[in-house]
């Protein structure tokens, strides 16, 4: 990894990373793929986020669904751990709570494949400084 030695360089790197990130959610982009984020802070892992994370990784590959499964910190819905967020290109991210491997299977088959919303969706209840 090369060190960044100026603000201009940093901004350039940011722009290219941003573009790459945003391309995942653009509908007509050739690289656009489904994103699954699993909340993996201490709290999430304690309630079983790790098997859910592994399940998504293995199953999406097995079922030939191009997807990127990543970990994040706490999504702050402690009452509904483990929580995950699924982004289908062109659609708003959807957060699901109380996800186990059975629920994960349902999410893959119903939401990711067919676009139907199963139960257990947590409505977004905040704004972030980035969205403002």
């Amino acid at each position: 990894m090369t060190k960044i030695t100026s603000l201009t360089e940093l901004k350039k790197l940011r722009d290219s990373l941003k573009e790459k990130m945003e391309s995942y959610s653009l509908l007509d982009h050739p690289d656009s793929i489904i994103q699954v984020k699993v909340a993996m802070a201490t709290c999430g892992q304690a309630s079983g986020a790790r098997p859910v994370f592994d399940y998504f990784k293995e199953e999406l590959e097995k079922r030939n669904i191009p997807a990127m499964v990543t970990q994040t910190g706490c999504m702050s819905y402690c009452y509904a751990e483990p929580t995950i967020e699924v982004t289908i290109p062109g659609k708003n991210p959807v957060v699901f709570g109380f996800v186990n491997t059975r629920k994960a299977d349902e999410i893959i088959e119903r939401y990711i494949r067919k676009g139907e919303l199963p139960d257990g969706v947590i409505p977004v209840n905040y704004e972030t400084v980035i969205s403002q």
Binding site: T42, T70, G73, S76, Y77
Partner: protein, 487 residues
């Protein structure tokens, strides 16, 4: 609809992969550091922080910009930037979430602080009980060094800054900044009298700027979006947002970040989804063992540093424990006192002995042996402890007692005068009784009693011997005819 929550400190938590610096950079990460190093002088940066109105999120609410300015002005060959991640309040997990979800924001802010105060070394004091936070922090530090955001000649400028981790061993008092510094030095985690403040003489006797995790998490955004933007959020004297760890008898347990000035009602009923099982709200405890209770009458006051103090509680680091009608406030006060007695470092007598006495009086009351005089004793002793203790721990430890005495005096009277605990929490004040009309003499309760306190003939009403009964409630749970009740 405009959302009640606004996430500044938690902006990246649950959004980015905390173990990938690239995710953070894509979200304008390290941009604030770059901007400060290349376009702003330390003085101008401090001016921005001052103007933003940011106050310390660890609980005290000291103006952050002012603290930075003091550390800058103190002369010293070596200065330190310290991050207080010794989160110890029962039921608080804001700092852990930030460190586990967005560690880079803290590192970036510490580097900015180093530039402003003239420090070249940063130290994160974190509890050893947070292994995942420590691991992610280490990964983040390694990545930041690889990209050149930490280390020598950061971003091609002459500024050098690096960070080390120091582990705490889980003593509550080490969240107090002088105790924290002694613990880092390898000494006993005991506080010393201020002044001198750490900004003047801190780690190894050098000027040290101590800020809390959440305070740091706000810094990059303030630099990027400007002081005016930040100052436009919040109430008159408390700017920005505050993260609360919402716990207890509430439907949506979790982290919330709301603009200062949001009311308790909005937090509990709109964001928190109300009280569990439709029960009635009784109180919310803020500020942990140093704080107090907010009650129904406080539901509509805007939450900020000054209003909470006026209401007899405090902001604290952000723990908010919600209690319903089934919670006994005397028992709650006793719980916090037990915590304080356990955590008092023992250096000064008011805290070491005074809190122990407070606890004993509360124990006496919950066991049904209290007298009215005890309530005055609690009040007087509490005030003495506040006035004479050495550090923040002792100076605030009687708060849960004083605040419950103020708000729930009738509950104390119930315990002391009528020997009753309406919430049915204090076991010594309860008697289990069998309703002779309802009991059919099935003997199920007698067979399940672990101490053989229940007697009676088959098909005849049974009787519980109050002398033998240990009030475990097993009989009541087993009875199929609701024949057992608590008096």
């Amino acid at each position: 609809m405009k959302q009640k929550q606004l996430r500044i400190a938690l902006r990246n938590c649950g959004v980015i992969d905390p173990e990938r610096i690239e995710d953070y950079i894509a979200k304008d990460g390290y941009l604030a550091l770059g901007k400060v190093l290349t376009e702003l002088t330390p003085e101008a940066t401090i001016e921005i922080i001052k103007k933003s109105g940011l106050r310390g999120r660890g609980g005290g609410g000291f103006p952050t910009g002012l603290k930075w300015e003091i550390t800058r002005k103190v002369h010293g060959d070596q200065k330190y930037v310290v991050c207080n991640a010794d989160e110890g309040d029962p039921g608080a997990f804001m700092d852990r979430s930030v460190l586990e979800g967005d560690p880079h924001s803290v590192l970036e802010a510490m580097a900015i602080n180093g530039y402003c105060t003239g420090a070249s070394k940063g130290l994160v004091y974190i509890r050893a009980e947070y292994p995942l936070a420590i691991e992610r922090l280490k990964i983040a530090m390694k990545q930041a060094r690889e990209y050149g955001f930490l280390g020598d000649q950061i971003l091609g400028t002459g500024f050098c800054f690096d960070i080390e981790i120091r582990y705490g061993a889980g003593a509550f008092v080490c969240g107090e900044e002088t105790a924290l510094i002694h613990s880092m030095e390898g000494l006993r985690g005991e506080p010393t009298v201020k002044p001198p403040f750490p900004s003047e003489s801190g780690y190894l006797g050098k000027p040290s700027n101590v800020n809390n995790v959440e305070t740091y998490a706000n810094i990059p955004v303030i630099i990027n979006k400007g002081a005016d933007w930040f100052a436009s959020i919040g109430s008159a004297k408390s700017k920005g947002t505050k993260v609360f760890a919402l716990a207890g008898k509430i439907n949506n347990v979790g982290l919330v970040e709301v603009p200062m000035g949001t009311t308790l009602r909005e937090v509990i009923y709109e964001i928190g989804g109300g009280i569990r099982d439709g029960k009635a709200f009784k109180a919310a405890q803020t500020g942990g063992p140093s704080g107090g209770c907010l009650t129904v009458k406080h539901l509509d006051i805007p939450i900020d540093y000054d209003n909470l103090i006026a209401a007899g509680s405090m902001m604290g680091s952000g723990g908010m424990i919600v209690m319903d009608e089934d919670d006994c406030m005397v028992a709650i006060a006793k719980f916090y006192l037990e915590f304080t007695v356990e955590e008092s470092c023992g250096k000064c007598s008011p805290c070491r002995i005074g809190n122990k006495r407070l606890f004993e009086i509360l124990e006496k009351i919950t066991q049904g042996n209290g007298i009215l005089e005890d309530l005055d004793k609690l009040k007087n002793l509490g005030k003495v402890i506040i006035d004479t203790s050495l550090c923040g721990l002792g100076q605030s430890s009687p708060n849960p007692v004083l605040s419950t005495l103020d708000n729930f005096y009738d509950e104390y009277i119930d315990h002391v005068t009528y020997k009753k605990c309406k919430s049915k929490v204090c076991k010594s004040l309860m008697t289990y009784i069998i309703d002779e009309e309802k009991c059919i003499g099935c003997t199920l309760c007698a067979r399940n009693c672990p101490v053989n306190a229940i007697s009676g003939e088959r098909k005849q009403a049974h009787y519980i011997d109050p002398e033998k009964c240990i009030k475990c409630g097993a009989c009541m749970e087993k009875c199929k005819f609701n024949a057992i009740f608590i008096n």
